[in-house]
Amino acid sequence: MKRFKYLKPIKSKDMFYNEKNSRGMRFKQKTSNLLVYTILTVISLIWILPFIYLVLQSFAKTYSPQVLIPTEWTLDNYRALFDPNFEMIFNNQPMVFAQVYPFGRWLLNTVMIALVVSVLQTVLTLMSAYAFSRLNFGFRKKYMKLILIIGMFPGFLGMIITFYILKQVNLSTGVPGLFGLVLVYISGSVMNYYVSKGFFDTISKSLDEAAMIDGANKNTIFWRVIMPLSKPIVVYTILLAFTAPWGDYMFASVIAAGDSSLFNVAVGLQQLLTKESGVSGFPIFCAAGVIVSIPIMTLFFFLQGYYVEGVTGGAVKG
């Protein structure tokens, strides 16, 4: 469709129906469409309601759980998150919120970790998937099954052991702890090989062979032949690799060990809700939630436009 971007496509609905049956068919089609869209609307409302609630509450001056639309509107919640000199009444006491809860620092931690992880993990995942798809080595199939089985255990089962290992190499606390965190996140990259392997399997092997005869080694084939054809799966892997550390709570809290300068947003926000009694922090929490979800949404909006179809068009018989 990219070619016709200067022109709106002409809609050709109902064009293929037989003239005789058209009225009955059209009626049936319309009712079933109506039903489907009603169900979809209800479901999407249920899905989106919490988010709308979150967005609206982030602008509320005082929190009242019973009302959806706040009575008093303010931007102070957002300001409190970032402005280190902004004083506000919190739990009936005046305090400078950004100094107690350094949200900016948390966000920075998270962004850095997520970026590094998404790049490294994408590379590792795709490379291992390519290896599983194309290379022939001993125990390949058994190894693939083993990884699938290991992947079924929740990650936190090995958390204690992982933590002790990190402790041995001095990557468990402080700023090095963040590197440790990156290490932990990317160490499981190979686990995600399955979808990308499936994609690589659909790319004709004779492309690899042609490149091999043209003089390419495995590395060149991967970067110059396979990667340009795999944009959709690269995007998918990047999204996956970015969101996992972005929302991780469990291991991040272990590494931070209470040091608020090492929190990521998930740990920080959780602290924000439980540490202080009462609900006066809730609007600020909502504001932080909105800010946290923005990067993910932007990422998704920009990258979703890649289509699988048509990418391999013309490569093989067609």
Binding site: R3, S204, S206, L207, M212, I213, A216, T220, A315
Partner: protein, 844 residues
């Protein structure tokens, strides 16, 4: 451009299936070889093994006399064309063709020149900036060919390149490939399942079935002289006619009794002269083959022919220039399924379905096959003779010849049938018995002489100087004769080789049998390598020192000062050039885009206007109709029509629009690609030039550094080579037969390791030893002498060899008869043949 040699190539999959077995072939330079066969016959696998895409399980592949088994595909200097084209979809045609050269880091100008050349050869010049998806199948395959020819490879491999094309394109591409082969003068190997392609393209054709070679020959010979039933049936459309039959010999004439047919043919002896006598009894069914053009219904041919069969016409296929007449063999006796016959004729001869007519067989063109083994029994080059004779007083009487048999052949006086291999008859001018030559034929490289002795016809190979009706002498190699009484074997020939079991051992395992005896051998090998490489190292050092002396006095700083402004100037000019080009590109792209927008809109407008006017006309005509018409039925019919028109009109309009927009989009994209590609090339060229200039400047300033680097690399490579050579020198291998371990030469060791890898030590081998390769020696294995066989010129000791598990007879060629009852023998390892037993892989 090079020849290929495939020696005992096998492809065995882990589950034990043999995809290719014992593929041995010599391919000469500039040949066009076609592999043909039904699917699953291993032809593609063989091609992929040649390409290096598939590992060779056993055997050796030589390209240009270099073994390439372990060479990467890219270093074999081959090019391949795939069935599904395998073009890189994200690259333009230009980039697709240039990819291989780019990876080999050729200068850009040269790549550009070559791409243009390839495009011109294949008529692709105007498509260079298109992407593969905007091209048709034939064009894509041409791009794929271009990618292959651009590197000027030693061997071109084509894997069913035309299978995905439609019939017309296929014929066109076929002639293009043939032309390409003429132009390029390169070795082509072409895989196909289409026999028309095989026959029209190949200089030689390899017919394969179930992984085995059935026949290798020129297309004409395949058609005229098929070696077996499979080739006979596979090559040629329509298929060859096959008749089951029994042969019998009866005085002056031979009889061919066709099964399921009422007719029996009486033929002259000469037609069946090459067929072994064993097929003239009722036990051996044979299959007769006739091509459809060798059976005739032409009136004068039928009248003059003596070999007629009755057929019942079933139907006709008229192909314009010829007619195929389908018929059945007339069968009065049994109710079995009738045998079908296809006859080629010039017309239907006024026949109709159900007619019974006589058809003439051209027996000169008949093919005879054994129905069980499916091999031809009427070979062009005969292998064995069968003669009927009498033995009286240990002298063989063949018609009027008397041949004295040697002492080793002890036979009672009786009538015998004797099998004499063609090779066992040696013609000469002085020794042996005198005969007269009846016929001399030349087939391929052999001169075949026939000698008639009463009922017996003997074939022998002759040297050049033989003439018809000349008298000459024959000598027989008595070791190869076999005597039968009836069908009972009385005297057996001695095989060319003795077979014994053997194991392959390394030096350490072999120490159990040989002790430390071979340690000095290893030391000597190591010393040899050491002295060789010490000399090489010294040479490199000396060269380095000499070169260093020359450049010692270069003043680096002065040179750098001198070059600095030059580099600056060059960098600036390059950057300027690139940014200028970039601007130009931007402008050009902008104007292109604008033009494209305008075009799209104008197309939309045109289409809309055209279709709107049609639409308006229709509505207008409907309105007029509505006004004048009074008939309700006609009116409702017209309404229906209008509805139909409306729906169709929309669809048609959309189709037209899509079609035109697509064409416009492809044009636009091609133009954009062309601009971008040009810019990219210009930019790369400029940057490369700059880089090279900088490098040159650096090297000029610091020649010592460059020398050092070069020296280090050379030494490193040499050291690696030295290490490998040393490792090879230290390892020696043995073949163990009985308690004898024989040292292998390097050639055999390499082949063994090459073929079987690490499994080489755990396998059992069959070693075939020629009789004269034995030597008497105290270190050998023990055999027990059973008897001495005196064959006149040569004497053999028939011995019993016992291993742990089995015993076998071996025949040792000896000079002296008095050798005692027990011998110790060893053998010359360079003359043996080696076969792996479990998978039956011929190694050496």
């Amino acid at each position: 451009m090079a020849g290929l040699r495939l020696e005992h190539i096998y492809k065995v999959y882990p589950n034990g299936t043999k995809a290719v077995s014992d593929f041995t072939m010599d391919i000469k330079d500039k040949e066009f070889i076609v592999f043909v066969g039904p699917s699953g016959c291993g032809k593609s696998t063989t091609l992929r093994m040649i390409a290096g895409l598939e590992e060779i399980s056993a055997g050796e592949l030589y390209i240009d006399n270099h073994i390439v088994n372990d060479v990467e595909p890219k270093d074999r200097d081959i090019a391949m064309v795939f069935q599904n084209y395998a073009l890189y979809p994200h690259m333009t045609v230009y980039e697709n063709i240039a990819f291989g050269l780019k990876l080999r880091h050729l200068p850009n100008e040269e790549i550009h020149k070559k791409v243009l050349w390839a495009a011109q050869v294949l008529d692709l010049t105007e498509y260079l900036d298109r992407k593969p998806r905007a091209m048709s199948g034939g064009q894509r395959q041409r791009v794929s060919l271009g990618r292959a020819i651009i590197r000027n490879p030693k061997v071109m491999l084509l894997d069913e390149p035309l299978s995905n094309l439609d019939a017309k394109l296929r014929a066109q591409m076929r002639s293009e490939i043939a032309k390409l082969h003429e132009d390029l003068q390169t070795t082509f190997i072409y895989v196909t399942h289409d026999q028309v392609e095989a026959m029209t393209l190949g200089t030689r054709v390899v017919v394969m079935k179930l992984g085995k070679i059935m026949q290798v020959d020129t297309p004409k010979n395949l058609y005229d002289y098929p070696d077996n039933l499979f080739v006979a049936g596979f090559i040629g459309t329509p298929q060859m006619n096959f008749f089951k039959a029994y042969l019998s010999r009866n005085g002056e004439t031979d009889k061919i009794k066709l099964l399921n047919a009422s007719s029996t043919l009486e033929v002259q002896h000469s037609y069946l002269s090459r067929i072994k006598p064993k097929y003239f009894d009722s036990d051996n069914e044979v299959t007769l083959g006739f091509r459809c053009e060798h059976i005739s219904l032409e009136k004068d041919v039928v009248e003059s022919s003596e070999h007629l069969i009755d057929v019942k016409i079933s139907h006709f296929e008229e192909l314009g220039n010829e007619t195929l007449i389908y018929a059945e063999l007339l069968n009065n006796e049994t109710k079995a399924k009738p045998t079908n016959v296809i006859i080629k004729g010039t017309s239907t001869y006024g026949l109709k379905r159900g007619d019974i007519v006589k058809a003439a067989l051209n027996l000169n063109k008949a093919h005879f096959f054994d129905s069980v083994t499916e091999q031809t029994i009427n070979p062009r080059i005969p292998t064995t003779n069968l003669a009927y004779g009498k033995v009286v007083n240990n002298s063989l009487q063949l018609h009027d010849l008397n041949i004295d048999l040697p002492a080793a052949i002890k036979l009672v006086d009786n009538d015998y049938s004797v099998i004499i291999p063609v090779e066992a008859i040696k013609l000469n001018n002085s020794n042996g018995v005198k005969v007269t030559i009846d016929k001399v034929e030349e087939v391929e490289n052999h001169k075949i002489v026939s000698i008639k002795l009463g009922d017996n016809l003997l074939f022998a190979f002759a040297k050049d100087d033989v003439n018809l009706d000349e008298e000459c002498y024959i000598e027989l190699d008595y070791t190869k004769l076999e005597f039968y009484i009836g069908s009972k074997l009385v005297h057996k020939a001695i095989a060319d080789y003795d077979s014994v079991n053997a194991m392959f051992l390394n030096h350490i395992t072999a120490k159990e049998y040989v002790g430390d005896k071979y340690d000095p051998v290893v030391t000597a090998r190591v010393e040899e390598v050491e002295t060789k490489y010490q000399g090489l190292f010294k040479e490199v050092d000396e060269n380095y020192a000499k070169a260093l002396e020359e450049v010692k006095n270069v003043d680096s700083k002065a040179v750098i000062e001198k070059n600095k402004p030059l580099i600056k100037e060059k960098t600036a000019s390059t950057n300027n050039f690139i940014s200028e080009e970039k601007n130009k590109l931007k402008e050009a792209l902008k104007s292109l885009e604008d033009a494209h927008k305008v075009n799209v809109l104008s197309i939309a407008k045109e289409v809309n206007e055209a279709y709107d006017s049609v639409y308006n006309d229709e509505i207008e005509s409907f309105n007029t109709f509505k006004q004048i018409n009074k008939d309700r039925d006609a009116y409702s019919k017209r309404v229906q029509e209008l509805k139909q028109f409306k729906a169709n009109h929309k669809l048609e309009k959309e189709n037209e629009l899509n079609k035109r927009l697509n064409a416009e989009a492809i044009n636009y994209e091609t133009e954009v690609n062309a601009l971008k590609g040009n810019f990219k090339r210009e930019k790369e060229n400029a940057l490369n030039e700059l880089k090279k200039f900088k490098n040159d400047c650096y090297n000029e300033a610091y020649p010592v550094k460059m020398l050092d680097k070069e020296y280090k690399n050379t030494v490193l490579a040499l050291r690696k080579e030295y290490g490998e050579a040393l490792m090879h020198a230290k390892i020696i291998f043995f073949f163990k037969t009985g308690n004898l371990a024989t040292l292998c030469n390097d050639e055999i060791s390499n082949k063994m390791i090459q073929s079987l890898g690490i499994k080489v030590f755990s396998k059992q081998y069959l070693v075939e030893i020629p009789h004269d390769a034995y030597q008497l020696s105290d270190e050998g294995f023990k055999v027990q002498v059973l008897e001495i066989l005196d064959y006149g010129k040569v004497k053999y000791a028939k011995c019993l060899y016992k291993d742990h598990h089995y015993e076998t007879n071996i025949y040792i060629q000896i000079e002296d008869e008095n050798i005692g009852s027990e011998l110790c023998v060893k053998y010359d390892i360079s003359r043996i043949h080696i076969t792996e037993k479990a998978m039956d892989i011929k190694i050496y």
